[in-house]
Every structure is written in structure tokens, then in C-alpha cells.
Amino acid sequence: MGFLIRLFSRRGFFLFFIFLEVVAIVLIFRKNAIQQSFIAAKTSAINSAVSGYIDEGTSYLKLRQINQDLVAQNKALMLQLYGRDTLSSPTELEIDDTQKGQQIYSVVDAEVISNSINRADNYFTINRGKNQNVAPEMGVITPRGIAGIVINTTDNYALVQSVLSIHNIRINASLKKNGYFGTLTWKGDSPRVMHLADIPKYVSLNIGDTIITDNKSTIFPKGIMIGRIAGYEIDPRTSFWDISVELSEDMGNLHKAYVVNNLRKVEIKQIQDTLKKVENGK
């Protein structure tokens, strides 16, 4: 208290001067638009700086919670990524057959989940089965060619005999340009090459001619691309052409496949079975 009295008695005039100046400054910043906006800008800048520091501090305190949230989110994403058995639901193609022609083939899309090409008889597995109306003796084609024939199914999977099989695959194939047909087999030499036999040697051939599926099969629809002629020579034993066909589909790189089902298979089988009865009856 004594200090204050001494201060005022000695420095009274100076303090009074300071007081008057402070009053003037307060008036300046309270009443004038320019200075007021200056003060407002400065105070808001200080405000935001201080609240920014506070936010930063509190965000550190929240890190544990954020970490837990991220772990939970990661877990959910990983379940989505690895936990599902199929990437897409199966779709069946339906053709509107009320207008013209009846539907002969149904198609189910599938994904190849295991594959081999290095054995004498190769197989691969697709992720469609009985539940998706896949049954044995259905054809499997790919966007670029034929792939195989279904030989066994479970509820959700099917085992497919690959076209690269020495013993079990006989495919009716024909020359696209003139319709001559023969039998396509694999001799086990190269996974890209199959052999077309039974084409008479008077048929003229060119390297690069297209080989397609024939309509004399109940497994594959007519006109599916198989491959192109890579070379030909006369088989001395049969005096038919032995044609090397380079497959258009790379069997070592199968991903997407379609199962085709001939809806008239049963009917065709019935009529063919009558021949057996006749033969047996002889």
C-alpha cells in the first residue's frame, strides 16, 4: 500500500498521462471501424492459434480411442476381403424364346479356383456346383475358347476335365471355312497345342485357319472358338490329316469360365439310346 502511495505521489502526473492515453486508446479501438476490425482480426487469430494448440493436445489424448477404431475397421475389412467364399453371385443367362427359336443352352458364370496343365490328364475346379445347377457332362468355355467338361460336382464346386487330357477328351471340332469335321485330342506335348484328326486329306488347309466346335456334340454349342491351325501333315497310318491346332485359350492362365448346359441333352440321349437297344437286340 505504501508503495502505491509513493508511486502515485512521485509519478502521479505520468500515471495520469498514461490513464488519459489508455482512455483514448480504448476509445480508438472501440469506436473506429478500421481499428476495430484490426483488433477483431488479431483477437480471432490469437483465438484460433490457442484453440489449435488445445485441439492438438486433446487429439493426442484421443489416439488410443482412434487406434481401437482403426483396428476394428481393419478387422471388418479383412473379413470382407478374405472371409468370403465367392466374389460374385452366380447369374444364369436366359434367352427370350417366345419370339424366335427356343433356348437350347443355359450359361452359368464361374471362377477357376485351381488348375493344372502338367499332367497327362488335367483337371481344374470351379466355384459352382449343384446349388447353381451345374451337373456332370456340361461344357466349360472361356471368353477365348473351350476349357473342359464337368465330371463331378459338389454343392458349391465342380471338378472339370480339362481339354488337356490324353485319355478322356474327344471333342468334335470343325473347320470354320468349309465345315469338315474331325476329332480333337491332346497328345500331351504342349499345353498350347491339340491335334485334330479325321479330316480327309483331299481337304485343302492353310496355316491360321480357324477351328471351332461342331454341332454334333451335346456338350458344347456350335461355333465356339477353339484355335487356329499351326501346322499339318499326313498321318501315315490313317492317311488323314494330322492337324496341329494352337489353342486360342491359354489353359495355364484360366480365371473366368462359363458352364454351358444343353437343355435338350436328355432328349438327344434318349434317341441315341434307342440305337444301342437296336444294336443289342441284334
Binding site: 502526473f13 505520468f14 495520469f16 498521462f17 488519459l20 492515453e21 482512455v23 483514448a24 486508446i25 480504448v26 476509445l27 480508438i28 479501438f29 472501440r30 469506436k31 473506429n32 478500421i34 481499428q35 484490426f38
Partner: protein
């Protein structure tokens, strides 16, 4: 001349405010350089009078000018500043130590310098606070110098008219 007291001071303040606001402010040279006369009260206030009365009347003078010009506090701040620092400005205006604070004891050149430095500092404070923008520093400085020059003429006329140099 009537001896001065607080009431005459206040009447003089009122008179200077009226003079400044209603006459001199209308006389703006080339539209923007207003002659500022009212600091004569602060400059030529007798040295021997009560300094509290002196500084508070100076403050009220500035505040009165502000009230009419709508520049609250700016003129009050500048006027109070030159009132407080007048003694120092007076000492710095004279070359050698003077015996007493009096305009009679100093030379005319010193007297003119004292007048100009007061007006200049007053204008410096007023205009820089008023414009309050660093981007216009040079622009405003030119304005301050010209206004100070114009005001100097008017203040000198006042000083000669009332024989300040001889009386105070």
C-alpha cells in the same frame, strides 16, 4: 489580458473546437489538406500553471474535436501526448540550457522549430492512427508533411496575432 483559470481554459477549448470544426475544416486546401489550429492551446499553455489542469483540458480538447469528427480517441491521444512531452520538446528545441520555461527567453528560430515539431508530431500520431495501414506509410507521410506545413502557417499567424512570443 484576463488572468487565466480553469473556466477560461474551458471556454477557450470550446472556442477552438468551434473554430476548428466549423471554419477550418471547411477550408480544406485542394480538398484534403486541412489546416489544424487547435493545438495552439496545448503549445502555448503557460508553463507555470497546474499541469493536471493542463493535461486534462488538453485531453478534453482532443476529445471534443473527436466527438465532432467521429474519430473517437485519435485526436485525444495525440493532443495528450504532445501536452505531456511539451517540456521535453521545448528543451530539445533550444540549443543551450534556458533559465526558465518561457518563450520570451528563446530565439525566434527556436520558437518556430518548437511550433513545427509540435504540429508535426501531432499530425504524425493523428494520421497514422487514423489510416492504420502499413501499406500506405509513404502516402500518409506525404499527407502529414503537407498538412503540417499548412497548419504551421495558421499557427504562426495565431502566434503573431496574440503576440505569444512576447507574452507567454
Amino acid at each position: 489580458m484576463v488572468s487565466r483559470n480553469v473556466f477560461t481554459d474551458i471556454i477557450m477549448v470550446a472556442f477552438l473546437i468551434v473554430l476548428q470544426i466549423f471554419i477550418l475544416n471547411e477550408m480544406a486546401l485542394s480538398g484534403k489538406y486541412i489546416p489544424v489550429l487547435y493545438p495552439v492551446f496545448v503549445m502555448f499553455y503557460p508553463f507555470y500553471r497546474n499541469k493536471y489542469t493542463y493535461i486534462i483540458t488538453s485531453f478534453l480538447l482532443g476529445l471534443g474535436i473527436d466527438a465532432f469528427m467521429g474519430t473517437w480517441g485519435i485526436n485525444a491521444f495525440a493532443t495528450t501526448s504532445i501536452a505531456y512531452f511539451r517540456a521535453q520538446l521545448f528543451q530539445s528545441s533550444i540549443s543551450d540550457e534556458a533559465d526558465s520555461f518561457s518563450f520570451q527567453s528563446i530565439q525566434w528560430t527556436q520558437f518556430l522549430f518548437f511550433i513545427f515539431i509540435n504540429i508535426f508530431i501531432h499530425q504524425l500520431l493523428v494520421q497514422y492512427i487514423e489510416f492504420f495501414k502499413l501499406s500506405r506509410v509513404l502516402d500518409v507521410f506525404v499527407n502529414i508533411v503537407i498538412t503540417s506545413g499548412v497548419s504551421f502557417v495558421f499557427v504562426l499567424l495565431y502566434a503573431l496575432m496574440f503576440r505569444i512570443k512576447e507574452k507567454v
